[in-house]
Symmetry: C2
Subunit: 467 residues, 2 copies
């Protein structure tokens, strides 16, 4: 399979150039002006060519509660999410398709799905999501969401003695499932990878973390987890370990150059130094952190400390979108209010690098993805610079990152296979998907969560809020 993109605009060190790009066998073979056409010719005139972005943290099945959950902090939001989750395999399939489509149409070619597993149907859940991602053709990193403690354990106990139900499945049984999942579904060469992905320190024992580390080492898997998303989790880590969550994760060996950590809002300077030292990657989910009131992750500090940072949309009920360009915009400009010195602010070009190469680094694929470089895999996006939302013609990357582009993704290739053309996904029928999702849902308002009502008083007491 060969093709040549002609006359596309690409960023150079500090300006732009018009080039042709040859793709052979899924890889970038040449980038230069006026190349010979090999294979199909693709007209890149008035289009910006960039490496695909990586949606480095999401939970696809949350799509079913997009727009539904009222303004609540994570701990109560989660209770409401769980009360109304009500998943089945059909829903898993449709929301994985929807997540893939929205990611693609906002510049993403890879998605890290911290996937909620239906109890008793763990393999079927993963098989179903895998099928959806393979059908669309997006590069998928499936991170099965596992825990071994019950939901209420995720809220600090404060002064009170709280006892929690044991989790319904043993730690070892969970690890056995993950090992079998790896054997059945981990196919990096085919665009589907499995990650080990304990939910986070708030709901996981050390045994679960260390079991995941062993699997990661044995099967060469990347590691994923939530980390210090909320102030409550910072309190909880102190209660649980007597030290910060980062110190604890370092001690047990979870941090590494193939570990991606979602959120990272409540880290101290000492914690940041540990992330830099262990070469861990921070996945910044700015919209979710605002929506849930979690806080502003200290992204400028991470960058100054040399910590690799990339972007995620987070699940669609804490954002409530899977538009990567929105996450990149807000995840860049949000930090200008945290440092008076504008020389530290993230530039649009830096944001693009974070969203592409930053994600590739975190997934241990910087040699294969994340830049327009000869020999790298052709995960490519062409943006239509004649769209009204990217006009007038000024700085193309400035427009893409700082603007509000809509309908601007003209073409997408993953591993050299075209899966978006003329702004439409070519591999599945998106109109049918839309109708299916419409038919699987019903408008509502004012639902009442039983668990939120149960947990609210304790949460308010622990967080020092009036009754």
């Amino acid at each position: 399979m060969k093709f040549t993109i002609q006359n596309a605009l690409i960023p150079t060190d500090s300006a732009y150039a018009f080039v042709d790009v040859q793709i052979v066998d899924g890889k970038i073979a040449a980038i230069a002006p006026s190349l010979n056409v090999i294979g199909t010719a693709i007209d890149g005139t008035d289009q910006l060519l960039l490496p695909g972005f990586i949606n480095a943290h999401t939970h696809s099945s949350e799509m079913w509660q997009r727009g539904a959950i009222p303004p609540l902090p994570l701990e109560l939001w989660l209770a409401e999410l769980y009360d109304f989750a009500n998943l089945d395999l059909e829903k898993i399939y449709l929301s994985a398709l929807g997540t893939a489509v929205e990611t693609l149409l906002s510049g993403g070619t890879s998605v890290v799905d911290h996937l909620v597993l239906i109890p008793g149907l763990e393999f079927e859940t993963i098989a179903t999501a895998t099928r959806a991602y393979r059908e669309v053709g997006i590069r998928a990193f499936i991170a099965p969401l596992i825990q071994d403690e019950s939901l209420a354990a995720g809220i600090p106990s404060g002064e009170s003695q709280q006892s929690h139900e044991p989790y319904f499945r043993s730690t070892q049984a969970t690890l056995d499932i993950i090992e079998e999942v790896v054997k059945q579904f981990h196919r990096p060469d085919e665009g589907v990878s499995i990650l080990v992905a304990p939910t986070g320190i708030q709901l996981c024992s050390d045994a679960l973390f260390t079991g995941c580390i062993e699997l990661s080492d044995r099967y060469n898997l990347c590691r994923h987890s939530h980390l210090l998303e909320t102030k409550a989790q910072e309190k909880l880590a102190q209660e649980k370990y007597g030290c910060s969550a980062v110190e604890h994760l370092k001690r047990i060996g979870y941090l590494s150059d193939r570990t991606t950590l979602a959120h990272c809002v409540w880290l101290s300077d000492a914690d940041i130094a540990i992330l830099a030292e262990t070469k861990s990657t921070v996945v910044h989910n700015p919209l979710s952190n605002l929506r849930l009131g979690s806080g502003i992750a200290p992204i400028l500090k991470y960058r100054q400390a040399g910590v690799n940072v990339t972007f995620g949309c987070d699940g669609a009920s804490s954002n409530d979108s899977q538009d990567l360009l929105e996450a990149i915009k807000i995840g860049s400009i949000l930090h200008n209010i945290t440092d008076l010195d504008y020389q530290h602010w993230i530039t649009p070009r830096q944001a693009v690098t974070m969203a592409s190469l930053g994600g590739a680094k975190g997934l241990n694929l910087a040699d294969q993805l994340g830049t327009l470089s000869i020999g790298k895999q052709a995960d490519l996006v062409l943006y239509d610079l004649t769209n009204l939302s990217l006009l007038p013609r000024t700085d193309p990357i400035g427009l893409l990152v700082l603007g509000r582009p809509s309908n601007v993704v003209n073409s997408v290739w993953v591993n050299g296979k075209q899966i978006v053309a003329n702004g439409k996904v070519t591999t599945i029928n998106v109109d049918d998907l839309r109708k299916e999702i419409f038919n699987h849902s019903q408008w509502h308002s004012q639902r009442q969560s039983r668990t939120v009502a149960q947990l609210a008083a304790h949460y308010r007491a622990v967080m020092g809020l009036p009754e």
Copy 2:
């Protein structure tokens, strides 16, 4: 002119209802289920009907530098903006059209354009923008941007003695221009209103403010201004007045129930009490405040103090978009990180009210605009709830505010006249507009601003930044 929207979803006190809406002579005549069809029947099935939002602060001609200005704080950003402004009447026309189109297609039916005037062509600038807004059919509030001090006067002097060039036009000459503009262009009944609109305390003398107050009283005009957008302006007010800018504006009588104040980031609790007491309106421009590093306006405090708040996009080179739904989303969720108590957070329904009725109040039009009420003017928007970005069907207003809706505005009416149908603006040819803007611009990067270079050292010294 009569028509009936059938079977549309509208919000009720705490849920939704399916209703028909009759519109007669530009006004809402009836809202109830199963009404008779009078005039044309419009199918509202699977659509959400809301009052139009108000883009309550923007500068249309900034569209020409969208995406172009690097991350800089307001004072230096402004220097770069001015260096490359290079406006002519054709550009004024095209950017007013572009601003109107983007506002309409994100749910806005009114725009407040704090319009940059081309020196020597002040009347022609306003005539041109007015022509553009009338052609599109959006309700326009034109607030000619006036000042009587030179740009460098907007930066605090600190310890140093700074002297500034006098402004090129006298205060009285500027006021004479505005009075003549009011006579020629102020036609509220035809959908075009003129506001008095001194730039802000940083660039205006008391004589200019008081002259504007006189015009406002004589001609019944609303008042607009920037207010305390940056920390530098807070310092400047102390240097200039020996008190806060809000205290000073109150003293000279600028604050009133028809005064809208853009930004309001650096206000004290005492200042907030003054805004409440004077019934002034805050126009929240969250994206611009992040992009320029201005800070987070204390919107939850305003709401608790009873201050009316609405939303603006601000000019397209400090945002860099005119998508009102984006401003409403970020302007709601941003504040969740400023108050640990989630009971104070802005709900999606509150955000919709702020964007519609809040804007109408600020423009002294709450009796005519901002709600779906019998007798009010038919400034209406129908949102397509079958669009993938508004699916699955959960809470429609939650989806609209918290999601990232794109291509969801199906129909728009202003004063009962339909100007968007099937997602397309019907009054002008948007494809021609797109081509014109394309042809009037050229891609670039790395331009060097002479004025930024001149001002940077002084700015850094005054703000306590390293050299």
